[in-house]
């Protein structure tokens, strides 16, 4: 939870991550026809994402960005929207990567 940064501060970092994330989920047919254009803040659960699909998303995001979510971030809340996943990825890559 502490790993989620204030979004406004890191706006430039977030845009490419969010785009890659959206493309990744589209490739994996998560909410097909919806994910391509949905608002980044939209609740993916309300849009019909299912629990088992979420595990696939977790694995795909870790592989795509070369990060490993600590268990406390492996929750429904972290994977609620493109924006929240992006925040988590940005924060993890900053911790782990060369920055």
């Amino acid at each position: 939870m502490s790993a989620v940064p204030a979004r406004a501060v890191h706006g430039d970092e977030r845009t490419p991550v969010e785009r890659r994330l959206r493309e990744l989920l589209a490739r994996r047919s998560v909410l097909p026809g919806v994910i391509e254009s949905v608002d980044a803040g939209a609740d993916l659960w309300e849009l019909g994402m299912e629990s088992l699909a979420m595990v696939g998303v977790m694995v795909a995001v870790e592989d795509e960005f070369g990060v490993e979510f600590p268990d406390e971030l492996l929750t429904r809340d972290t994977f609620r929207s493109l924006a929240v996943i992006t925040d988590a990825v940005v924060s993890l890559t900053r911790e782990e990567g060369p920055a």
């Binding site: 309300e46 629990s51 088992l52 595990v55 870790e62 492996l74 429904r76």
Partner: protein
């Protein structure tokens, strides 16, 4: 204190009616009345609200105690505590809050209608939806009973004690256009709902839970829709607490079977042959489940209070408890049956384990273990230490 009462009731009124409840597949009304008279139906509610304030580890131990007298009664009690915890965890507005308070104060019995025909046994998918005649229910200026603006019509495949309950917690899609996974839970008064039994109830075990298929139709006011999304409620309260309290029941049934096997072996101690090694095996198997149960109960308590989040590792932990407890309890009961021989196979007598075995055979089916194995296999791909 509370556990002592559970033990006393189990060996008293619960055990007294258990065989008849089982034989006739009827609701254990005497046992439920006794639980009510000791405030046990509101065990999970905070003391300040009129409950007993029992935490999850205490609830699990109570479930195990009750199961030794009557598995059906213990399972009804356990399921009711889960529904109560769901209601208490919902950030309720004034009207829903008052309804929940009344449930706690009057110890009303709450059943769950989450199963549904056509969704393949998946808790997290609904076919039926909350429907409205008027898509934008405006605030009504007239005082008095709020109008029924919403309705639902659900074919639930298994509603334990549904016809005996005072209230039902029913899952449904949020609206007619919502995807199957976007669900809400609705608290219905049984008096306001039309319940139609579809088919009979004549199962192998847990016969007193009276869990037929029901068609549920109701019109209701909007405040009866729990504000918390059903998926969050399932992850935080319903699934962990179900697995922990059901496992408590199964542990109690298996421990009772092991005790009966030991009693049977004692009665034959004069014959000169040493007691069966199965008696030792039952003990280590039970110890393992007991420890796993206590650990999962502590974790579930932390998630219930918000001190911890329902993470992947937590979900794996409670699912693993369910898988292990449901299988080990059956193994222990079957080992007890082998030790007791024909005395155990008989439905009558002090060394009968027949009903215990039959009750326990439901354990791997309640949220089917095959489904749970498939889920845990996926979760294992991202599992890390908690």
């Amino acid at each position: 204190m509370t556990e002592a009462i559970c033990r006393e009731l189990a060996s008293g009124v619960l055990a007294e009616h258990a065989a008849e409840v089982d034989r006739d597949a009827r609701f254990p009304k005497e046992a439920l009345a006794a639980l009510r008279s000791h405030g046990l139906l509101s065990a999970a509610a905070p003391a300040g609200q009129g409950g007993l304030g029992a935490d999850v580890p205490a609830l699990a131990r109570m479930a195990a105690r009750l199961a030794r007298g009557c598995g059906s009664t213990a399972m009804i009690w356990a399921m009711h505590q889960v529904q109560l915890a769901c209601l208490l965890a919902s950030d309720a507005g004034p009207e829903l809050g008052a309804a929940v308070n009344r449930i706690v104060r009057d110890q009303l019995l709450v059943a769950s209608a989450t199963s549904e025909a056509g969704v393949g046994g998946a808790l997290r998918r609904s076919a039926c939806a909350v429907e409205r005649d008027d898509p934008s229910p405006a605030a009504r200026p007239d005082a008095g009973e709020p109008a029924s603006t919403a309705r639902l019509d659900k074919h639930a495949t298994t509603v334990s004690y549904g016809l005996e309950a005072d209230a039902l917690l029913v899952s449904a899609r949020r609206g007619p256009d919502s995807p199957p996974g976007d669900q809400v839970a609705v608290l219905l008064d049984a008096a306001d709902a039309s319940l139609e039994t579809l088919g009979g109830w004549n199962p192998l075990g847990m016969r007193g839970t009276c869990s037929p298929a029901l068609r549920i139709r109701a019109a209701f006011a909007d405040w009866r829709i729990l504000p918390v999304p059903f998926g969050d409620l399932v992850a935080r309260v319903m699934t962990p607490l179900s697995h922990v309290l059901w496992s408590g029941v199964w542990y109690g049934l298996a421990a009772e079977a092991a005790d009966r096997a030991a009693a049977h072996a004692r009665g034959r101690a004069g014959t000169g042959s040493p007691p069966s090694g199965a008696l030792a095996e039952m003990r280590w198997r039970l110890s393992a489940v007991e420890a796993q149960l206590a650990e999962a109960a502590r974790a579930a308590q932390a998630v219930l209070t918000g001190a911890a989040e329902p993470t992947v590792a937590f979900t794996l932990l409670v699912n693993s408890l369910k898988l292990a407890a449901s299988q080990v309890a059956v193994d222990v009961a079957l080992a007890a049956l082998r030790v007791c021989g024909m005395a155990g196979y008989s439905e009558d007598g002090p060394h009968s384990v027949a009903r215990l075995v039959r009750d326990l055979l439901s354990a791997p089916l309640m949220i089917g273990n095959e489904r749970l194995v498939a889920i845990n296999a996926e979760l294992a791909l991202v599992a890390r230490d908690r």
